[in-house]
């Protein structure tokens, strides 16, 4: 992993309240797990940003080392790694993810 990619990842993570590293875009997810993660964020109705790792090989590899997590998508809230799509789903179903967003004071989406 290059330091440059790490710096970009770090800036992105710290620059957004809710950030999802994913394959593809919210409108065109390129993987079922990324698609599921987007569906959860949409259901929660929070403002979020995404990074398409398919557009950047440095970020695609670097994010795995950054979080010590081997798969994508990856969700970050207020700079903290929350988990991948399976953990997101479990936390969504139990109400913990909505609670976390509230506790962290994450803004609701405009739409």
């Amino acid at each position: 992993m290059t330091d440059e990619a790490t710096a970009r990842i770090d800036a992105a993570v710290k620059g957004s309240d809710v950030l999802l590293f994913m394959k593809g875009t919210p409108l065109f997810p390129q993987c079922g797990f990324s698609s599921r993660a987007i569906a959860i964020l949409e259901r929660l109705g929070v403002e979020y940003q995404t990074v398409d790792v398919l557009q950047d090989q440095g970020v695609r590899q670097g994010i795995k080392a950054y979080s010590d997590w081997p798969t994508i998508p990856q969700l970050y809230v207020k700079g903290e790694f929350v988990g991948g799509s399976d953990i997101m789903m479990e936390m969504y179903e139990s109400g913990e993810l909505g609670q976390l967003m509230q506790e962290q004071g994450v803004a609701a989406s405009a739409g």
Partner: protein
């Protein structure tokens, strides 16, 4: 590339001996699995820590050889 369900179970149980592992082949193609791993040793640890133990048991195969493993961890 694909992995046999039995190999996934064996790898997880080698690292987490008390684990009860259920594997579902989601697409019937030996490449898209769901795993449910239940272990007393998960008690008191975070979900992230539990998932990390399973992915470490799989020794770098996740996200590579094993593209799609939907993972759930739980206490007995």
């Amino acid at each position: 590339m694909a992995m046999a369900a039995d190999d996934i179970v064996a790898l997880i149980r080698a690292a987490i001996p008390d684990a009860h592992v259920e594997i579902t082949d989601l697409a019937g193609d030996g490449d898209h699995y769901a795993a449910r791993v239940v272990s007393e040793s998960f008690r008191g640890t975070s979900r992230i820590a539990q998932h990390r133990r399973v992915t470490q048991a799989l020794g770098g195969r996740m996200g590579g050889e094993l593209h799609a493993l939907q993972l759930t961890t739980a206490l007995p």
